[in-house]
Amino acid sequence: MPMALSCAELAIALALLSAVVSLFSAWTPRVLRQVATPLTGLSGLAALAAGLVALTSGGVATAQLPLGLPWLPWQLRLDALSGFFLCVIGTVSLAVGIYAPGYLRGFEHGRDSLPALGGFTGLFLAGMLLVMLADDAFLFMVAWELMSLSSYFLVAYHHDQAANRRAALLYLLMAHIGALAILLGFGVLASFGGGFAFDAMRQAQLPFGWASVAFALAFAGFGMKAGLVPLHAWLPEAHPVAPSHISALMSGVMLKVAVYGFIRTVFDLVGQFHWQWGMTVLITGSLSALLGVLYALMQHDLKRLLAYHSVENIGIIFIGLGMALLFLATGHALLGTVAFIAALYHTINHALFKGLLFLGAGAILHSANERDLEKMGGLLRRMPWTGLFFLIGCISISALPPFNGFVSEWLTFQAALQAWQLESGVLRSFVAIAAALLALTGALAAACFVKVYGVAFLGQARSRHVRHARPVPVSMRAGQALLALPCLLLGVLPTTFIGLLNAVPLQVLGHGLTQATSRGWLWLTPVSPQTASYGAPLVAGTLTITLVLGLWLLGRGIRRVRRCDAWDCGFAPPSPAMQYTATAFAQPVRRVFGLLFHISERVEPQADGRRRYTLQVSDRAWGILYLPIARLVENAARNVTRLQSGSVRVYLGWSLATLLVLLWIIA
């Protein structure tokens, strides 16, 4: 176990090393591709190894660094929970490390500075890994802010467009607010536990009121980072503007770090559960899931769309966590564990397929230099491998068997379906409604990714540069493959992975899943074999067998078929312009759920007599939450600046007045 800890430290060291190394890319740009990014990959590998060891051994290792405050040196701690998240970070960053060299070739001739990119990537990774190991609030905050700050620089990397700068500012602002909320939450814990070390906090016995305050602060802070509705608005602005492999890290991993923080604080440090908290988390999660997917459907910028899907999936994760809180608070340990496991499972799943999808988007950006779905089309024939991996990503994120996304949603449903065991009808019905929303979300997600894949990869190219897109270099393909494979594995062999995951609830909650594999490794039976079972390997196996059988029986399936024109109702053969666009595809949904969006739809006549149709679907969160606060600050500032009127006599008057007032006070 100490070996695992030192392995994790090695990972951090490698990340920092890559940060240092990439400074040299100022002189020889190749360094970034050939040394720095592979180092991040290695660091990811080390993290993965450390995490796996921690998960399998299930022990706890601690250490101290001679840094930090004189009376509070940096405490490191590696347990199953952090081990699991180390695996998440490790896998994705390993894939990114393999992917990036190909992707970055294009950057070497760009105007943006390579050292900044490499350096902050390394720091970003190091920060995230350090958050996992932090065992006292001070180190946690340092690592957390290191993560936020370096990712801010990465978001602001292409800083020529003003939009990107705005996004970066908003991102950093929200991150800072969140961090302060978290700090405050730790403060509450610390003032009861008598110390900022996590061990002290664990011992703290908080009254319900203060515990709720701590919970609320942690939920707000981490939720802000994770992008929960209504604090999500920064996320779809910030994540897409970073370089794609960074977007993969941010959406795939950084959000998970927020999830980790929430679990660590609420489940581990506060260590008490109340159904009110569960309800809060459950409702917020459901709303995030639904609104996230709905807003995603409205996007036609691929990376923005994926970012909104992060909001959705984080929502699903928090649905799981909320149910876990609910069940644990009402004394249903097993069900709580099921929900908890479901959340964890979805966490790693989302990391995998969202990373995969962002890498795919990066590949498109790399070879076709296009982010707008409306200009894509027919990419499957241009870049078959990317097409295949992207398809896998789409199927997984749409929660379709036999891929991984389905397993976690299935588990979440299983937890929700045990609501009948709850005593209070209110809670039961809320859980049921949450399940309904989850189902709706899943179906809408499938619709959304039919749109994405159909518009981007199928049909015909809608613009010239997309028509001439070239396949991406092999390293980028390898990176995507590395994420696509586990998507399948986690879908086909859930029992194996749940066996690994079990260590986490065993350590955090004190009990694991007892009957998960009571019917053998082929059947996943989270609650009990009678309740529900899912033979993922069998489903996958039968699917493949039947497919192969079908193709073989109709052996002619392999034989090439005659080509002809598409059906054109007897008019001219269809042109790319006739294809359904992404906006058109989403139009029915926009009409059905119209009141959830802020839609401005205009048809204005152009100079040349033609008419121009513009559609703007924007997030309601802006008008409801963000702009009012901004206006408030602006007004306050305007009023305050009257103090600096410019006349020295007025200033003297202020001094005199202050003097008299003070004298009057003390006398």
């Binding site: 905050m141 700050l149 602001a156 020529d160 602006e634 600046t641 020295v648 200033y651 202020w654 003097l659």
Partner: protein, 491 residues
């Protein structure tokens, strides 16, 4: 009076006299650096002495753990600033913004200013403290108007009048203090010695002491830049030459605050046991919080880069004042640390800002653009510096703010909300203006300049170090200072 102390305090004076005679500009610059370096060396030696024996006293001077680290800090920032100011002032002189005479004035006054700072820190006599602080105003006021632009002169006048009035009130407070002292101390000469007063504090008459403290607070508080007596500060900072702004923000404010804290210790001693025991503390907290919040809001509507950062100085001074008012070992430790890191960071920022303004040829925020592309060193310097001052780890400012926040949470939990709001508002105000300046494409015909970023590197490096780990000796140093101020050890 040990040699180290003598050298430390009086080297700048001698340097000023020497520099008055030097005509050649480059020589003057070198000599300036040299003198500051000697001062710094002596300060280090003095620090070692103090480390050896708790207190170095004599001839009306008294150096203990509290002021020694400020002495070293002052000498250090003075040195780095002089290093920066040499090429910078040559550029200023080259652009014809000032004359050879102006340059000589600059060098003399720079050293005189450092001298008054060191004197104010090292002396044990409250009267001398007053004289020194007033002297600091007199030394800098001509520098503020160095460029002779209408704005510069206006700024200087306001600076002069406001600080003059403030300091006059402080003198009245000092008189009252002396008045109170006379009834407990028969030797009139010792009546203003801080150490004596501190011993006899409990006997000092509370009514007079609180009266005196109000005057002293208003007086020195004007220098600290406490709202609503702060109005001179942004003007003086923005119109004076940049090295001046650096030392003003980095040192003068600290010294004024130091004076306030020393006096607070006396008042606390005398008021202890009376119903209004925490009067001084509450006053400081009130002023500190007010300055903190108001300055944060001011940041949002800045058009001049140096003004912006001077408001940020007010904000941080407010934070420290609040912390000192809060009392308690943790808060005091944090405040002392914050004093340290803020001076380092802020002077580094002002140095960078000087280069930035030099690149753009103006101080107007709207016309400073694309620094990263024009001159990465300056751009990153500014970016990192502001990130540090905004309280991002792993920089030291975060550490001190972390301590202050946790201290507040322990004693006055509800103030934390105000503090956090203030932090966020200030942060947003800084970055919304910072981003357009550093990012984006390069404007037409903007050229990199010959910039000396070494001091910035050193300062930020130190701040980073302090953020990662507080070295043991410094920790014990600050702890001893803490125990001096609060009577309680933290470690």
């Amino acid at each position: 009076m040990t040699p180290a102390l003598t050298v430390t305090v009086f080297t700048p004076l001698a340097g000023a006299l020497l520099l008055a005679g030097v005509r050649r500009l480059d020589r003057a610059g070198l000599l300036n650096v040299l003198v500051s370096a000697v001062t710094f060396g002596a300060a280090l030696a003095l620090a070692l002495e103090v480390a050896a024996r708790e207190v170095v006293a004599g001839a009306g001077f008294r150096v203990d753990a509290f002021n020694i680290y400020l002495l070293v800090l002052t000498a250090f920032v003075g040195m780095t600033t002089s290093v920066f100011s040499r090429p910078y002032m040559q550029y200023v002189c080259a652009t014809g913004m000032t004359s050879e005479r102006g340059m000589r004035l600059y060098h003399v006054m720079f050293q005189l200013f450092i001298f008054t700072m060191l004197l104010a820190l090292a002396t044990d006599n409250l009267g001398v403290l007053w004289v020194a602080v007033e002297g600091a105003t007199l030394a800098t006021v001509l520098l503020v108007s160095l460029y002779r632009t209408p704005e510069a002169i206006e700024a200087a006048w306001k600076y002069f009048i406001l600080c003059g009035v403030g300091i006059a009130l402080a003198l009245f407070g000092t008189v009252l203090l002396y008045f109170a002292a006379q009834h407990v101390i028969d030797d009139p000469a010792a009546g203003l010695s801080w150490s004596t007063l501190h011993e006899l504090a409990p006997q000092l008459q509370p009514a007079i002491m609180s009266l005196a403290f109000v005057f002293l607070l208003i007086g020195y508080g004007t220098k600290v830049g406490l709202v609503p007596m702060h109005q001179w500060l942004p003007d003086a900072h923005s119109e004076g030459p940049t090295p001046m702004s650096a030392v003003l923000s980095g040192l003068l404010l600290n010294v004024a605050l130091y004076a306030v804290v020393r006096l607070k210790m006396l008042v606390d001693g005398s008021l202890a046991g009376t119903p209004s025991a925490h009067l001084a503390g509450y006053l400081l907290m009130g002023f500190g919080l007010l300055s903190f919040l108001v300055a944060g809001l001011f940041l949002h509507r800045q058009r001049d880069i140096k003004r912006m950062f001077s408001y940020s100085s007010i904000e941080h001074m407010g934070l420290m004042t609040f912390a000192f008012g809060l009392g308690g070992p943790l808060a005091t430790f944090g405040a002392l640390l914050h004093m340290l890191v803020h001076s380092l960071t802020k002077s580094a920022i002002f140095i960078t800002v000087g280069h930035a303004a030099h690149i753009a040829g103006t101080q107007s925020i709207d016309h400073i653009r694309g620094l990263l592309r024009t001159q990465p060193a300056v751009g990153w310097g500014l970016l990192i510096g502001v990130a540090a001052i905004a309280g991002f780890p792993p920089f030291g400012v975060f550490t001190s703010e972390f301590l202050l926040l946790s201290a507040t949470m322990q004693s006055q939990p509800w103030f934390t909300v105000a503090l956090l709001t203030g932090l966020v508002v200030a942060f947003a105000g800084l970055f919304r203006h910072l981003q357009p300046m550093v990012y984006g494409p390069v404007p037409e015909g903007q050229q990199p300049v010959q910039a000396n970023m070494f001091p910035v590197l050193v300062h930020l490096g130190l701040v980073l170090w302090l953020g990662m780990a507080i070295p043991a000796f410094l920790a014990h140093w600050l702890d001893r200072a803490t125990s001096l101020i609060t009577g309680m050890h933290l470690l």
